[in-house]
Amino acid sequence: MKLISLVIVLITGAILIYGTMDMPDWGDPDSPASLHVSPRYITKTLEETATPNMVTSVLADYRGYDTLGETTVIFTAGMVCILLLRSLGGKISKLDT
C-alpha cells in the first residue's frame, strides 16, 4: 500500500514538474497573470470602489459572490458538526464547551 501510494505521489510530482517547465519565471511582472484581469483591480480600485486596499475591494466587491460562498462553507461546516456531534447523546455537553 505504501509503495503504491509512493508511486502515485511520484507520478503526480513528475507531471507537476513537467508543467512547471513552461511556466513564466517566478515574479515576472509581465506574466499573463498580471496583465489580463488584475490591472483593472489595481488602477480602478479607488475610482470604482473607494477602497485603497485592493484585496478588500476585490474580496467584497468585484468578487463578493465568492465571499458569500465562503461564508456558506463555514456555515455548512458548522451545521455538519452540529449534525454529527449532537447524536453523541449526553456526552455532547462536555464535548462542545
Binding site: M1, K2, S5, L6, I8, V9, L10, T12, G13, L16, I17, T20, M23, D25, W26, G27, D28, P29, S31, A33, S34, V37, S38, P39, Y41, I42, T43, T45, L46, P52, N53, M54, V55, V58, L59, R63, D66, T67, G69, E70, V73, I74, T76, A77, G78, V80, C81, L84, L85, L88, K91, L95
Partner: protein
C-alpha cells in the same frame, strides 16, 4: 540550467510540499496523520497561488499609499497582483472548514471504535 532552477525555486518547493502532503494523505494509516497531510497539501496549493501573484522589481503590497491625499498616477507594476490573494483567502477558509468536519468525524470514530488506525477500524467493521 542553474538559472532555470533558481528562477522557479518557489514552484519546486510547492511541488515538494504537495508531494509530502499527498503521500501522508494516501499512504499513512493513522487518521490524524491523514488530516495533517491534507493540511500540508492544501497549504502547498496556497503557496503556489501566492507565488503567482509575486512581481519582482519594486512591487509592494496591494494597498494604495496616500489614497486620500493628492492624486498619484497608479502604475500596475508598482503593486502585487491582488486576485490570487483574494482567491486564497477563500481557500484558507475552505481548508479550515474541511478540517473541522474531518475532526468532528474523527472524534465520533474514536468513540465508536476506540482506535484511529484505519486498518484496525476496517477489521472491526467486518
Amino acid at each position: 540550467m542553474f538559472d532555470f532552477i533558481v528562477s522557479k525555486y518557489n514552484y519546486w518547493m510547492y511541488i515538494v510540499l504537495m508531494m509530502i502532503g499527498f503521500y501522508a494523505m494516501i499512504g499513512k494509516n493513522n487518521l490524524v496523520k491523514k488530516i495533517i497531510g491534507m493540511n500540508i497539501f492544501q497549504t502547498a496549493i496556497i503557496l503556489f497561488f501566492v507565488s503567482i501573484a509575486c512581481k519582482k522589481g519594486g512591487a509592494t503590497l496591494p494597498i494604495i499609499k496616500h489614497a486620500h491625499g493628492a492624486e498619484h498616477a497608479i502604475k500596475v507594476s508598482h503593486y502585487l497582483n491582488p486576485l490570487p490573494h483574494v482567491l486564497m483567502l477563500t481557500a484558507i477558509v475552505v481548508m479550515v472548514a474541511t478540517l473541522g468536519v474531518a475532526i468532528a468525524i474523527i472524534i465520533k470514530i474514536y468513540r465508536e471504535y476506540g482506535t484511529l488506525e484505519e486498518n484496525e477500524i476496517l477489521r472491526k467493521l467486518k
